[in-house]
């Protein structure tokens, strides 16, 4: 479980996050939604320590991440897997080397054990046989899946996904969403997904948090979001004709 308590962050005097408190549950897919520039990515980066919040605390299973020393933070980070918006695969390494990298850094596995783990992770994301390809040689959707494989290689307790569907076609997006949900439930991971894709919300949103202008405006589930009376949330969720139609029939 991850708890955020009263997180605030400003850049050059502009308040980007305002006193945000959230609890992310274990074994659930927690979605952070909001318009572009609302502070979703900054909130995620504050959670994993890539950006230091100005105030507040981030508790990973009770340990306050903001108060830990660098070495202690690195110990917690070994338990974090992250899928980046652009996949962030190391382009000088093959797919196999990318997935082996965290294993090399943090385990004492031999080459054979690492290879076995790589094949297991690739199999889990349905990406067999691409071991020796470079990231530039595979499609965006495949890169995302390899990104997930790398993120789960160390059996993480926490999984962060920053806009996992950006730039993907609808069917690949659903595939990625379902994969995230399956992995979350199978390994009882605390998963946080940053998105503004309403399909993802409706597919996998066990818990949905709406961020508006740096504030937490709404919290609920994929089932309760359709009944929301919150104007700002409605403007975001029901912006498309399709979503308006879904609302009218629900």
């Amino acid at each position: 479980m991850i708890e955020l308590k009263n997180i605030s962050k400003s850049f050059n005097g502009v308040e980007v996050l305002k006193d945000i408190s959230i609890t992310y549950q274990r074994g659930k897919t927690n979605l952070i939604i909001g318009a572009s520039g609302s502070g979703k990515s900054v909130l995620t980066k504050c959670t994993v320590g890539l950006i230091e919040p100005d105030s507040g605390s981030v508790l990973f299973d009770g340990k306050d991440f903001t108060k830990l020393k660098i070495d202690e933070k690195q110990e917690i980070r070994k338990e974090i897997g992250m899928l980046f918006q652009g996949s962030a695969l190391f382009d000088s390494m093959t797919v196999e080397e990318n997935i082996k990298f965290p294993l090399r850094m943090h385990t004492n596995m031999n080459e054979e054990e690492m290879k076995e783990r790589v094949n297991f992770c690739l199999d889990r994301v349905d990406m067999k046989g691409v071991n020796m390809k470079f990231p530039a040689e595979i499609s965006g959707g495949m890169q995302k899946r390899v990104g997930i494989a790398r993120a789960i290689s160390l059996n993480p307790k926490y999984l962060f996904c920053d806009e996992p569907n950006s730039g993907l076609d609808p069917s690949t997006s659903i595939l990625i969403d379902n994969l995230i949900k399956e992995i979350t439930e199978e390994y009882q991971i605390t998963t946080i997904v940053v998105t503004h894709d309403m399909n993802s919300v409706m597919e996998i949103g066990d818990k949905v948090i709406f961020i508006y202008k740096g504030e937490k405006f709404w919290e609920g589930t994929k089932d309760t979001i359709l009944q929301t009376t919150n104007k700002e949330l409605s403007d975001l969720v029901f912006a498309s004709r399709l979503m308006k139609k879904i609302k009218s029939t629900s």
Binding site: K45, E75, K78, D91
Partner: protein
């Protein structure tokens, strides 16, 4: 002015992170070998071409400027050797590498920053500054002295070829000149400079790449700043080392 102090402070803070003890040293070995090949051996060709022509031009210029019969002809060889060993090979080659290797380092690390690969390393619990920068510094500090010695050798050969084919000085006089009053400390001095310059041409561009913010334009701009800053620092350090060691 405040901006300069800000960069100097941030640079030293980065270096403090860079030189933290790595957890898995064996992972660095492979990177160091890769960087020796990429940063050092990849520059072998351009260094050879530049050095042979510098040696040739020094020989021609010295020969054409000696009018007095009181100045012996072997001065041409002596001047070519001294110029190559003391200044051209260590300093000019460092400035050229600051452009070639420096821009490469800034672009590589800068691109990793903008594509979130550095964030990915941090999330994996890896000290990204150390993992990315230490192998480059060690590789350059190791390989650059060999490149500079090669440059000295090939530069002096360039002068010999001019003596052989243009006739501005006889080859016997040239060979006598390159051996005349040779002080082995000149080589030590050049090697000390080379090691400092190797550190500068890797660490400063790496700093600019590591803190890039934005996209492709920002990476290009950082690359230019990295080359300009490292070139200026090389010239300042060159003066300081010369003052300390030769005067």
């Amino acid at each position: 002015m405040m901006n300069t102090f800000y960069h100097i402070g941030q640079y030293f803070m980065l270096m403090a992170r860079v030189f933290q003890r790595p957890k898995k040293i064996k992972l660095y070995r492979k990177q160091i070998i890769y960087e020796i090949n990429s940063l050092g051996l990849g520059s072998f060709g351009i260094i050879s071409i530049i050095s042979v022509f510098i040696g040739a031009v020094i020989t021609l210029q010295t020969a054409s400027n000696i009018d007095s019969a009181l100045i012996p002809a072997y001065t041409v060889g002596f001047t070519a050797r001294q110029s190559m060993i003391l200044e051209f090979s260590p300093t000019i080659i460092a400035l050229i590498l600051a452009g070639k290797v420096g821009s490469n380092i800034t672009s590589e690390i800068g691109l990793m920053r903008v594509t979130e690969q550095i964030d990915a390393l941090e999330i994996m619990g890896v000290n990204s500054a150390s993992y990315l920068i230490v192998p480059k510094i060690i590789a350059a500090v190791f390989i650059n002295p060999f490149l500079v010695i090669w440059s000295m050798f090939i530069g002096i050969i360039g002068g010999y070829l001019v003596a052989q084919f243009s006739g501005v000085v006889s080859t016997d006089e040239y060979i006598y000149g390159i051996q005349y009053a040779f002080k082995p400390f000149s080589i030590v001095y050049a090697m000390i400079k080379t090691v400092f310059f190797a550190y500068i041409i890797t660490s400063i561009p790496a700093y600019y790449g590591y803190y890039v913010k934005g996209g492709a334009i920002a990476v290009g701009s950082a690359s230019t700043k990295g080359v300009v800053s490292s070139s200026i620092v090389i010239l300042i350090v060159n003066y300081v080392i010369t003052q300390l060691l030769l005067i």
